[in-house]
Symmetry: C2
Amino acid sequence: MTGALFIAGLGPGNADMITPQVADALAQASDIVGYAPYVDRVPARQGLTLHPSDNRVELERAQHALEMAAAGRRVVVVSSGDPGVFAMAAAVFEAVEAGPQHWRALQIEVLPGITAMLAASARVGAPLGHDFCAINLSDNLKPWALIEKRVRLAAEADFAMAFYNPRSKSRPDGFARVLKLLNDACQDTRPVIFARAVSTPQEDIRIVPLPDARPEMVDMRTMVLVGTSATRLIGRNGLPFVYTPRSVSAGTGAA
Amino acid sequence: MTGALFIAGLGPGNADMITPQVADALAQASDIVGYAPYVDRVPARQGLTLHPSDNRVELERAQHALEMAAAGRRVVVVSSGDPGVFAMAAAVFEAVEAGPQHWRALQIEVLPGITAMLAASARVGAPLGHDFCAINLSDNLKPWALIEKRVRLAAEADFAMAFYNPRSKSRPDGFARVLKLLNDACQDTRPVIFARAVSTPQEDIRIVPLPDARPEMVDMRTMVLVGTSATRLIGRNGLPFVYTPRSVSAGTGAA
């Protein structure tokens, strides 16, 4: 038996956003590896072994998956959203690089998924409809000073922004500092979107002007989107639409 | 009959990356609206009217779709990739804002898709595995100076970068200028990935060090990814894996 390793994205939550490519990989797998809440999203069946693990053991999980694939198993490592965006793909390749040479010859494929920022963006309109950036606000794996530097430069570039992991246990004041930095840099009322658990029964969406954004509006399941200086709201019954126009007129924003 | 408008992402090309949510919307549509090559990807069937249109008529296309939805049709506007990333969603909301008040009461939903940068990233490993940005290099709708400013700030932030529409007919030297700017700013050999027509029979992937990247390596179907200062290659038979580690050590890259 020839082993293989797939690193698959399950999308934001609802099964109707799992691609057929990922569904096929799950259907043909012998083993599913991942953070327990994501493994829980894969239906159990005869012949399928589930290997749920805790948070923050990404490298050990990746090594385990690679060992099983090298032993001839057909392994799927599952991530929420897209595996290449602040998820398991990078951890697997870190393990490959540091591991035995024969791991490099394995069939290893990344199967993309709908990442949280694009699900959140779709839910409210098109706030990322112009140039944008994605920043992981967790300082587990990088210095906090680098996060602040990137947010400052992103504001200067007038990027729309998507913040993953806005709430850090180790630095509870982190997101408050980001909000202060953004208010100082932007000096406007651009919309901030708090999108919690998009496409699940716990979904909760909130749209507020930047000066009204508060740290307590986020938890571990919240994705934060920040508009550009040009982002617009379209009022209607219920949640407004939010979109960033495709055009920037000459003379605006350029150095 | 109550009309509705869906703005749906068809993913990068292969049908196995179209979400079930989008497939359902297509199956229930009365009308499909979009740029002709994307409309061509929707199979014809009894009761379905296809409305292919030319490039660069996004606003007219959006208005047409809204008029049909307002008249009670079930309309799907199709985009390649994700509709919220340099595609039709922003154009539709521009048309809604400028249009008659009753358009705001329509059911309008954006259905996300696998955007080109994430399909390309998955194809080679995890080059966007750390903070990154997405920049549309077309200067049809924004001044060229703003594009250069954003690329410069993105390099300073040490973001991985994804460039959409790298080849501009109106400014054939644009991408050459971006490469020069990146080489001046980065002064290293970080990998650049040219990913053409990912997941289609025309797929072609090329990975070169930044100093070897050339303008003629892109055409209208190429997505360009640029690593950070920390992005790594894992050599193997065939295409190497490319990934950006999740960690940045303290003292690196911070202001």
